[in-house]
């Protein structure tokens, strides 16, 4: 635990903020630096520790697409609900997926209507449920980036080893690099660099990000999840500008290596195959951006075992999640933010998970000025 405390030290924070203020002086040609934190975990840390108002006006953080719950399109949620409502099925899901709205309802509502939906903390829990209920069919709703995909893969390997036949996976695993490319290719992009996804990088390493400086001329610093990690990463990004460098750097070197975790990568390859394309909520179809179970695991693939509606549902017209995810607009600039779209009645997925940019802004970011003023007054 001492480990953690070092990264929450207010004195170190003040030092880092001073450095940021110096380096970011005047912004980038008079406009504030805009850095995107790719990962939902970063967004959470930023709000939880009140980091935004520690930063000078010359640095702005943009919340990226790295909240795995936020990027699942409505049609897939509908499919999940239809799976959950099949007779004899126990449908298992991570907690924060349960409130995500499909086109007519959410898993939480399906549960209230009588579907057997159970919250689990890991895919292994779902496998345990399957082994304890041999007469039921247990489906696991797999979501997440390369961070959670290995544990789904390990679970499938175990299920096969143990000869479990009543367990299957509805895979919605996605990969981080393609959406980054999609964001970088967007014509209205306005970003000066990235805080790279720390957790994902523990698996895939730092190499896959080389294209960001090379092709798009933007720096990327892989960042950890403690508040000081975020500030240090911002310092490193600004330092690159000051030095006239543009490269991939690793702030999270206590965990992340350039090569990542070859064992995890191998397990992923054993179980998954890349889908030709996958729809991302707000971002549309992105080629080779998601993982399906491969032929070897067909017997565990819920998409093959069950008939799914598989209907593509367009995002609501009023929904501007795509623009928010790309950092083109801030949550509050969406027309329905805070009126039709609130955490109780989310329209877009960014409002559903507490890591979603809109929900985070709604919950923690409001009145940040008042809060900052008050903090200053009491300091």
């Amino acid at each position: 635990m001492k480990y953690v405390d070092e990264y929450r030290d207010p004195a170190a924070a003040r030092l880092a903020v001073r450095r940021i203020t110096e380096l970011a002086e005047g912004g980038r040609n008079g406009v504030p630096y805009a850095f995107m934190e790719v990962c939902g975990g970063h967004t959470h840390t930023i709000y939880r520790h009140g980091i935004e108002q520690l930063l000078p006006e010359t640095v702005e953080l943009v919340h990226g697409p790295g909240c795995p719950v936020c990027v699942i399109p409505m049609g897939r949620v509908d499919d999940a609900i239809s799976l959950a409502e099949q007779p004899g099925v126990i449908f298992t899901s991570f907690g924060d997926m349960m409130r995500v709205p499909g086109s007519t309802s959410s898993l939480l509502e399906a549960k209230a209507r009588g579907a057997d939906v159970r919250m689990v903390y890991s895919p292994l829990d779902a496998l345990k449920i399957a082994m304890a209920n041999p007469d039921r069919r247990v489906v696991f709703f797999a979501v997440g980036f390369e961070t959670t995909a290995p544990s789904t893969a390990v679970t499938l390997l175990r299920a096969r080893e143990a000869g479990v036949t009543n367990f299957s996976v509805f895979s919605n695993h996605v990969t981080i690099v393609p959406p980054l490319k999609a964001i970088l290719d967007s014509p209205d992009l306005r970003l000066d660099g990235f805080l790279g996804p720390g957790h994902v990088s523990t698996v895939i390493g730092n190499r896959p990000y080389d294209f960001v400086p090379q092709r798009y001329g933007l720096p990327l610093v892989t960042a950890g999840f403690e508040p000081l990690d975020i500030l240090q990463s911002v310092v490193m990004l600004l330092q690159q500008y000051a030095d006239g460098r543009c490269e991939v750097e690793n702030q999270y070197s206590r965990i992340v290596t350039d090569e990542g975790n070859p064992i995890a990568m191998r397990i992923l390859q054993q179980v998954f195959t890349l889908r030709p394309h996958f729809e991302w909520r707000g971002l549309g179809f992105i080629a080779q951006s998601a993982l399906a179970l491969n032929e070897d695991f067909a017997a565990y693939d819920a998409e093959r075992l069950f008939a799914l509606p598989g209907v593509r549902v367009a995002d609501p017209k009023s929904c501007q999640c795509g623009e928010v995810l790309k950092g083109v607009i801030k949550p509050w600039e969406c027309k329905v933010f805070g009126t039709a779209c609130t955490p109780e009645t989310p329209i877009g997925t960014c409002m559903v998970s507490s890591e979603g940019a809109c929900a985070a802004y709604y919950t923690f970011g409001r009145l940040h000025k008042t809060a900052a003023g008050l903090a200053a007054a009491s300091a």
Binding site: V4, E60, G95, V143, S354
Partner: protein, 363 residues
């Protein structure tokens, strides 16, 4: 925040959100979901629309931990009820039996009353082991004896297998409020101090871990305990105590939000002052749950005048249930109806009402 965006619009949107937030939450759902029972916004909406609407009266509209009722003699009664459906029924530090007694005793204590009599009603699923029932009832007897309260009436219903999950208990209690005692959000003033009687989140985390769904082991005990004595200790040391609550479901975060809304003040908490045990913090960090929203079953949260805060703290820390008591925040005039947390890291953030159950994050 953004130099390229017109400042005015953001202010407007924020204001709009603020007005929206001030409205009592509205019930839009067609069916009851678990969120309606979680103590956050959804619960408030359900209570407003369904129960208050039908039962409306002055005592109920206080929406306190218990109702305050005046007898013809002029004496005041506190009257409270609560149902207990915890799973698992036994967890480190206690059982559903302890909770059923402590919960109602504490609701009364938060009205300033010593519980005198309790009722207990059981809904039992067919097939429930008599041995387990006996053990639960023994826990209730033990808890009642320590709290100095008698269980004087009761009821038993048995339902078909599957119609209930084991055993549910409802208790109600009555106690007399000594003359001159009055607490309320309307007495709370800027400058007052917020006190808590010990570590946060022990009960919620203990129960979560005891469910065994998590491959996580930590030595965390539920804090279930009767608070009537500690309440008296506090009042003796800080007779000016303005407001009292036990932060059960929804935790300190939810209760502070209710206080901020009812008193039309800001509650400013200091993260570095929050007493939280290491294993509780560790489990919460791992699950992505904020300990501020995790349930307690043996803690009281009090607002006292600043000049009585030290005395209150000194008195509470010598009571066995209050050894970890701490001053965790203060009341400010602005920003109205908001709970702020000054983070240990030097930032400030808003602690909002939860929408439903705190759902663990996945990454």
């Amino acid at each position: 925040m953004t130099a390229v965006q017109p400042e005015g619009r953001q202010e407007l949107v924020l204001e709009r959100v603020e007005t929206f937030r001030r409205r009592r939450p509205r019930l839009t759902d067609k069916v009851v979901t678990l969120a309606h029972g979680a103590g956050g916004k959804s619960s408030a909406a359900l209570i407003d629309k369904v129960f208050l609407e039908a039962f409306r009266n002055d005592a109920l509209e206080q929406l306190g931990d218990g109702a305050l009722l005046e007898l013809p003699s002029g004496e005041r009664l506190a009257f409270a009820t609560d149902s207990y459906v915890v799973r698992p029924r036994r967890f480190p530090g206690g059982s559903i039996g302890h909770l059923a007694v402590h919960g109602t005793v504490n609701d009364l204590a938060m009205c300033g009353a010593q519980a005198t009599w309790l009722s207990a009603a059981f809904v039992i699923e067919e097939g429930f082991p008599i041995d387990e029932l006996t053990a639960i009832v023994a826990d209730m007897a033990e808890a009642a004896a320590t709290a100095g309260v008698q269980i004087v009436t009761g009821d038993t219903k048995v339902v078909d297998t599957g119609a209930a999950d084991g055993c549910y208990i409802t208790t109600a209690g009555i106690g007399i409020v000594p003359e001159g005692r009055r607490f309320g959000a309307d007495l709370v003033q800027p400058g007052d101090v917020v006190l808590v009687s010990g570590t946060l989140g022990d009960h919620g985390v203990a129960v979560l871990l005891a469910r065994g769904d998590l491959d996580l082991e930590a030595d965390v005990q539920s804090d279930t305990a009767p608070l009537h004595e500690l309440m008296e200790v506090l009042l003796a040391a800080a007779p000016g105590t303005r407001w009292l609550r036990d932060p059960t479901r929804g935790g300190v975060g939810t209760v502070c939000n209710e206080l901020a809304a009812d008193a039309e003040v800001a509650v400013v908490l200091q993260e570095s002052a929050l007493p939280i045990r290491r294993p509780v913090l560790g489990a919460c960090d791992l699950l992505g749950i904020d300990p501020l929203y995790v349930a307690n079953e043996g803690k009281l949260l009090a607002v006292v005048p600043a000049e009585q805060a030290e005395a209150a703290l000194k008195a509470m820390v010598v009571h066995p249930l209050g050894t970890d008591s701490a001053i965790i925040g203060r009341i400010a005039a602005e920003p109205e109806r908001i709970v702020l947390l000054e983070t240990s890291f030097g930032g400030t953030r808003i602690v909002d009402m939860l929408v439903g159950d705190p759902l663990p994050r996945i990454c």
